[in-house]
Amino acid sequence: MNQEQGFSIIHMLGLRFWLVMTLVGVALSLGLGDILIRAEAFEVFYSLTRQHEELQLDDWAVAVFASLLTVSVLALISTFVLGKRLIKAVQEKQAVEHRLAQGQQLIAMGTMLGGVAHSINNHLTPVIALAEMMRADLPPDSDEAQDLSKIAQAAFDASGMLNRLKGLARSDNHFSGQTEIGSATTNAVDLARKVSSKAVSFRLDIQPLRDKVALSAVALEVVLINLINNAIDAMQDKPGRIGIALDHSAPPKGIPSTQPDRRFSGAWVRLQVSDNGRGMTGEEAGRMFDPFFTTKPVGKGTGLGLSETFGIIDKAGGVFDVSSSPGQGTQIGIYLPVLAPGQST
């Protein structure tokens, strides 16, 4: 039985697990006591101890009984405590998996909508191009010219509707919203460490910033899980270290910043994830956020994790600063603009 199967069995029993074990322990104790009484064990033992009084058997007998009683009580308490801890661990794991699954489902829905919109926008292109071209050859006031204008307008309206649908999908996927970056980062790191596929050492320097940024706590969890899992994969089965830092820092000059946005105060926070993995070449670093780009072996990565991360941060008005060299590890800086007081997303 592996750990997952064990957890499943415990989960099936649920909170009743510890109660069942407790009742079993009590029943065994009562049953054993009943057997001893029926066998007149105590009378036999007493007469035996009277016959060998010079050997201080009484003291040994009391000691043994006391030890058995103590061990029984300790076993009972341990079963109770262990059961509760196991149940809590299983429930936490189930909650984490459920939350991740929810996020993934919503991402898939958004991806599907995005794919449909992309296709339809492609098909609307020749409709508009040819309608406008034909209209240009006709007298502007003619019925035919006006009909062709309506064809082009209808195509633009269809594209606009698709874009609004995409926007709805993104806002309904719980990645929008706002969160206090300090506490959200701490919680997200805790969650990410629990679901990380390998034991690595973490070096944390997370300042308790109370600034609010334009993404939800769930979005931040997805970002950190993606980055940490990529960092672990870059370590290629070697022991590794991942550093996570949060502070007030503005993007370096030269990094393309977001368009001026009245939502933001002008201040920035920086979330930095670094690792001592294999690092990337310049070309790999330039493409790391490309959809379906991956350096992992076939079957080991879809290439969507960092692309998804990019989209989340971009939507929040954030920018990236990546530095990496082959053999020197990677450092990813995520700069997020701070929301102005009273602003919503």
């Binding site: 492609n122 020749p126 998804e308 989209g311």
Partner: protein, 128 residues
């Protein structure tokens, strides 16, 4: 009149865009994928490359990346339906990879021709 290379895998879109460009007085060569476009650039450097993003056999972003290694000043207009992945906007990637301009589909002919005018070298004629 400019020599324009159009890389677009969708037949109808390629037909329509090429027709608009020719009607505007430009000479247009057509490529159906990024690999073909790369070879055609090597044969004759165009005044302007217009490329879609999602194409078989070398997508537009890979084409742009490869071309920039040899032709850092070639004007490149990247067009796209906006990206098929919720996590990534192809046109934003294109800008990061060195596109001279981007245009989201669907676009009006006026927008397309105005963007081309901005990218073409000075003195290149552009007329009806």
């Amino acid at each position: 009149m400019a020599n324009i290379l159009l890389a677009e895998d969708d037949e109808l879109a390629r037909y329509a865009i090429a027709k608009v460009l020719r009607k505007a007085g430009h000479s247009v060569r057509e490529a159906v994928n990024g690999s073909m476009a790369f070879d055609m650039v090597a044969q004759e450097l165009p005044d302007l490359l217009i490329t879609d993003v999602v194409m078989p056999d070398c997508d537009g972003l890979s084409l742009l990346t490869d071309l920039r290694k040899q032709h850092s000043t070639l004007p490149v207009l990247v067009i796209s339906g906006g990206g098929s992945n919720v996590g990534g906007d192809y046109l934003f990637f294109a800008e990061r990879l060195g596109a001279s301009a981007i245009l989201k589909k669907p676009f009006s002919n006026d927008d397309l021709l105005a963007r081309i005018d901005q990218l073409l070298p000075p003195g290149t004629l552009h007329g009806q």
